[in-house]
Symmetry: C2
Subunit: 404 residues, 2 copies
């Protein structure tokens, strides 16, 4: 029996779900929850793989610390490490990889070797970065059982505004402005929501949630967050006032929790509208708005019965280009996928910004990863898992025979 | 002929220097300097391996950007990636690893395969983190030819004070205070210098460099830096005033460039005093001052003719425990090394915080790395370099026969 490691099963590419063959089992890490250890002076934590993000945050809060990965889900820390999740605050804090100081891993070799790569040292070049290989491996090299994390001081104030740019052409200038002019605070989120995404999120919440109540929803809204101490709100106002002339059409101050409720409700709102084909992509920041335009044009011209709903973490160059299919099922999903991924490649982007590689996008990995990288990945997987016991069978990493 | 890749030859563990056998050549990357590409909107740079840190900084400055790794040397970017250098601002910005988005590498296989792992995307989980394996590999897996980096907004103000703690017991509380209370700025350095380290640094500079002129040098001085925009200086004064009662015995405001000149002159000053045996170690922040005390006691009791000069990046838990030997050569260096490394291990520390693994500390790697990690490292080196062409022959990674 082959095993797929599974945390909270919140992954979005199918990597932690068995296939239908009856030969794949789930290796759940959910009971690995005891022994969470926080070093408050060192700003580090050793976290058993099955601990949920929310439980870690609850444990860190009394120390004024936070693990600053903001997601709309509540995954396990082991799953977050195996996936290298990112979320909304990557522009300020980086992805999970940047916070993983060490891991403990059980290898799928004949001895079930426990690989002790666990350290809480912030500076340690006494060995190669084997631990980093497991971060983002999608459960294919070993089972992560513990993760050592660096954590950060929890900001005492987080202030969000909904900012409507006067046009898409000024969005990058606004991003640069907030990164440079936040002054007494730090730009911790710069999210883009299209009107369709806003509408989807608001559809799951009561009427008071609408930051633009009393008027139409804007075609593009930016959820901008500054974090810091006292004075963060004033700093935000000062940054708004100093924004490039004419760049802001509207700006609404909304408490952070309410802003994020809208943002995090988008995915659920879309699902309620129909079947969703999701594209979790990224591009250089200078290309991401052009990619968005091209995606809109693509859907309008070639898949007019579908609706593109785009939103995402513009600050780090990533976008969720989600397509809601019509109920009649008239969209050729394979053609849609091929066309969208081709656009992403044209813009120098990635077909998987933060969701990882799984059965759902394995073909894309095969089609676009340089052959030398494919070969090396294949050899690494064989080295770590010589018997082929671990990971979803449809992962593209274990290739038999010559590659096409 | 075996080859050791070499950048600016500023490494401190001997990994880029051929041995004396005449069978090892230097593969210099110093001519790989053309094609530096900065994406000012994306805050990224693709840097040929032979570009020096100072040249990269010169290229970034007009864009208001910086690669925030502060070192007392001017290495090449390729060497910095191969070593995973850290420096003085790791507590705010992390080490080189955290900034490496991708690499281009030439493998030492029969085809001299060029491995294209080069991307400037900030979010990209479309493949495993093979690039991270090369960061900190010490030139043993492949030759890094290009590095894609994320870079950050250059602070417009950097303010340093020399802070003398009332006792070593309050140092961690002061660190915590500055991390939490910096308010309108960010704590970007928290360096500890012993009186001996201060004296060594000052010995290389003119009399105006002494921040404590007119009195004795303190036994412990902290070089504290806040970075931010306008108001950073005021924020520093406010943080000093709000420090825990009685924790600060003295504080002197000195322009940042002058403060860092003292800090960066320490190593040279020590070399002028005699032969130096350096220990580049780290420990959990909560243990690092106890480690320092034990090291002082060790040298005083067992090697009284030598002088311990301790300094380093307390904010990230690392210390340089440098020992100046007496001219008579009466210190048994092997005993000193063994005793010091044993102390570090007792405190849960690392024998190489930032200098990496090379001939100088290869024995320590063999003695302290878990056998399963040694075996896996060995297998990885054989996978990447099947013919044994790359890296210093005294690196401990390529083991013949069963390990002891």
């Amino acid at each position: 029996v082959r095993l797929v490691p599974q945390g909270a099963n919140s992954g979005l590419v199918g990597a932690s779900v068995p296939d239908g063959t009856g030969t794949v089992g789930v290796l759940s890490t959910e009971r690995l929850t005891s022994g969470l250890a926080i070093d408050a002076a060192g700003h580090t934590a050793v976290v058993p793989a099955g601990v949920r993000l929310s439980a870690l945050e609850d444990a860190l809060a009394p120390h004024g610390l936070t693990f600053p990965i903001d997601l709309g889900a509540d995954p396990t820390i082991g799953g977050m490490a195996a996936t290298n999740t990112g979320g909304s605050r990557v522009l300020a804090y980086g992805d999970v990889r940047r916070h993983v100081l060490g891991v403990e891993v059980v290898l799928p070799d004949a001895n079930a070797t426990v690989l002790d790569l666990l350290t809480t040292l912030r500076k340690d070049n006494s060995r190669m970065a084997l631990h980093q290989l497991f971060v983002g491996s999608g459960g294919s090299l070993g089972v992560i059982t513990k993760v050592a994390l660096d954590v950060v001081v929890r900001p005492t104030e987080q202030v969000t505004w909904w900012v409507v740019p006067s046009s898409d052409a000024v969005v990058l200038a606004l991003l640069d402005h907030f990164e440079r002019q936040a002054g007494s605070a730090r730009l911790t989120a710069f999210e883009l929501l299209s009107g369709a995404a806003l509408a989807a999120g608001l559809s799951r919440l009561d009427a008071t949630a609408n930051p633009f109540a009393g008027g139409p929803l804007p075609a593009t809204a930016l959820l901008v967050e500054l974090s810091g101490g006292d004075g963060t709100g004033d700093a935000f106002v000062a940054a708004l006032e100093a924004a490039p002339d004419g760049s802001i059409a509207d700006a609404r101050s909304v408490p952070a929790a309410r802003s994020w409720a809208v943002r995090h409700a988008v995915t659920e709102g879309l699902r309620a509208r129909g079947e969703v084909v999701g594209f979790d992509v990224s591009a250089p920041r200078s290309a991401v708005l052009a990619l968005r335009d091209d995606a809109r044009q693509l859907v309008a011209e070639r898949f007019p019965s579908a609706e593109l709903c785009e939103f995402g973490h513009l600050g780090d160059g990533s976008l969720h280009l989600n397509v809601v299919l019509d109920a009649a099922g008239s969209v050729d999903v394979a053609r849609l996928r091929a066309a969208m991924y081709a656009l992403v490649a044209q813009h120098g982007g990635s077909f998987s910004a933060e969701h990882g590689v799984g059965p759902f996008n394995a073909a894309q990995w095969r089609a676009t990863t340089p052959p030398a990288v494919q070969d090396l990945t294949d050899q690494l997987v064989r080295l770590f898992d010589p018997r082929g016991l671990l990971g979803h069978p449809a992962l593209p990493y274990r290739h038999e025979g010559p590659r096409p």
